[in-house]
Amino acid sequence: MGTKLATVGVCFTAALALAACGGTGGSGGGAAEENYPEEPLEWTVAFGPGGGNDIMSRQIVDILEKEDLYPDDITVENVDGGSGALGWGRVFADTGNPYAISSTSGSFLTTPLQADTPWQPGDFTHIGLLATDASLFLTSKKSGLTTWEQWVDYAKNKGKVAVGGIGVVNVDLILHAELAKQAGYEMEYVPFNEEGQLITGLSSGSLDAITSNPAEVLGQIESGDMNALLFTGDEPMPGLEEVPTAKSKGYTRMVTTPRGIILAPDAPEEARQWWIDTIKEVVQSPDWQNYLDENNLTADERWGDDFTQYVEKTSSDLETRLTELGAL
């Protein structure tokens, strides 16, 4: 609880703070559809500043402003709480508003499974999937296990290994369960609330292995304090190409989480199309490529209905599999 980033900040981007406010005056409510967009944009980030979701949103806003893609002001607001339930709940409540926009991450799919949110991932107007997050499977330097094969031997010999990840209703549990089942070893999954404690759980020798988002452990891998044994994405991870993928080792049914863009439910078709076209331009920009490289993300672009299908399929897939594992 101590480390909960509790915040609401009406946070204007620095550029916005300098920009002359006003000008466009009130066109007074209601979507004037042929002229879209003509009002300030409200970008809701469902997490606190500094997190993965926040960084992506601010990067996109930065590009929109730098390349003059959005004609009016953009306000970024962090609405943190309830693992995203509150932030996305706010966008959900803005049904029909073409100026209420947000970005998604793994919690977009898992939070509704866990809590009785009024919204479901399928309710929103889906613009596009930009990238997916996959995980790294890691052991500590002290373990001496540097390849996936060594790990499987070790795990089989030990009888039952202790592995860690974030939360229960989350992809980490599914990844550990699938890998153990398919490789033929037994594991006890130990859930953590915070990345920091997960990492020290591994470094202290309490855990045999963990899965983690790459961004949080890159420094540890680079310094040699952790060994990356496996990457759960289908394609090798940019920057860590030498780490084998789960697919190359013959493992299937890995799950990824979506980084995408959504509008409030029932946004007008014009607005949806305008954003699909605009975000397609955003992902062409060198700044976006830079962002992907820096964060070791694999581009995975799906627009409009394709994104809707992905969201619905992944969400129901997560639900069945977490139910199978007894987490729901």
């Binding site: 609880m1 915040t7 550029a15 960084i55 601010r58 309830g82 202790a162 953590f192």
Partner: protein, 538 residues
Amino acid sequence: MDVFGQLLGGIAGVLTPVNLLLLAAGVLMGMIVGVMPGLGPSAGLAILLPVTFGLDPAGAIVMLAAVYYGAMYGGTITSVLINTPGESATVATTFDGFPMAQQGRAGPALVLAAVASFVAGTVGAILISLTAPAVAAIASSFGPPELFLVVIAGLLTLVVIIGQNRLLGAVSALIGFGLATVGVDITTGNQRYTFGSPELIEGIDFIPVAIGLFGVGEILWSLYNRAHRQDLGYMAVSARARGFWPTRRDWAESRGSMGRGSLLGFFVGAIPGAGATVASLMSYSVEKAVARRPEKFGHGAVPGLVGPEAANNAASAGSMVPLLTLGVPGSGATAVLLGGFLIWGLTPGPLLMEQNPDVAWALIGSMYLGNVMLLVLNIFCVPAFASIARVPFRILGPIVVVLCVIGAYTVNGSLVEVGIMLVCGVLGFFMRRFGFSPAALVIALVLGPIAEESLRQTLLISGGSFGIFIQRGPSQALLAFVALLCVFAFVAPLVFGAVRRSVDRRTERRLAEAARRAGEGEESADDRPSDEQRQVDA
């Protein structure tokens, strides 16, 4: 020495006019944010982080470090003046800080707290330079079993603050542990007592509970005591007034506490997950255990204020160790800083100090400068803040209630939390009325979930066996430490008590003899010996 060279380099690097302005602005903004009940360092950092996106990394770091210390001290101000901790790390400050303010000693309390923070910040900066790698190695050897033991050490404070009223105190703590069970059960993912509310799936936050119990509860209690009809006992708030500055005895009493608090705070703060809250509570227990007059604790004992203040400040320096050397955030505030690192394009991790030593040392240097700036600004600001204690209750009371509502709402923008805060306000009143311990409730609420989580993780890892606590080296050391604390908390007071009584008897005899010899004619011009005598009698 090389490390000090780097520290000085870091300090010198951030000493530009612009940075000094940012530093002053940051400390002031932090203090303003921190004075809002409920908004502590992590909220302050999160709110102001986006402001720094336009600055270069060095400027941004300077500003954030300043905000951090400003907000931390802002929390101390509200703890002392209106009994409302800004975040869990300043709960311990209310135990003796608020009684001091009630006795008209708000000025000395605030000055002592600022000096304790400054001393702890200095000790922290030196310790980071000297011991960072070693401390990082220890921190990274702390898994769930060790974290559990550290939290248990923190929970021992309950025994210390509950004091005489064991039954009511235990009930208070149990209410806190009960509230702590709300939210998602970490090991099964099931919801507990959330009644389907998304606002409750992360559990009941400490902040609205503390604001309600302490802030609003205090107001209701004062009303009940007809404080609105009374004129406050006026206190001297001018910096020139004699009653404003701590007395020589205050300084003498706080010297050891500052040192102990700083060391304890630094090392506990370096443990991810434990941090400043546990450190300040442990410091309070330690101070009471070693105090010459433990019965004064809770009634405005200077060591009870200074120790925890030093500890929570040193803990923020300590929490930089895992952040900088391991890339592991140890607290809410460092988690926000970690996010800042990512935004500025740095890779947090074990190599940060090697690859970006300038940034790392700039951070340590600006933390230190933040401390200095805080002390300097405080010489001007404390009289202003302390004068709040002169505002009649009928004016201050409503303002505090409004600030409490705003604070509870602002943290998560949630009306549910405002409701929790108000309910806790009423609860806090009745707890005071019937002699329960709001502090015990809050401590249980903050530490309960960490204890539960780490214990259940430990038992998952060990397959249900408690043997894991005696198999692991770090655990053994911690078990020994907890045992030592128990000895201090339970056995030492008995032994010391006996020793003190015999010493007192001897002193009394000696004094009586001296008095007899001195005769009646010579009265001591200095009032200190009579002070001592009073002390002995007490």
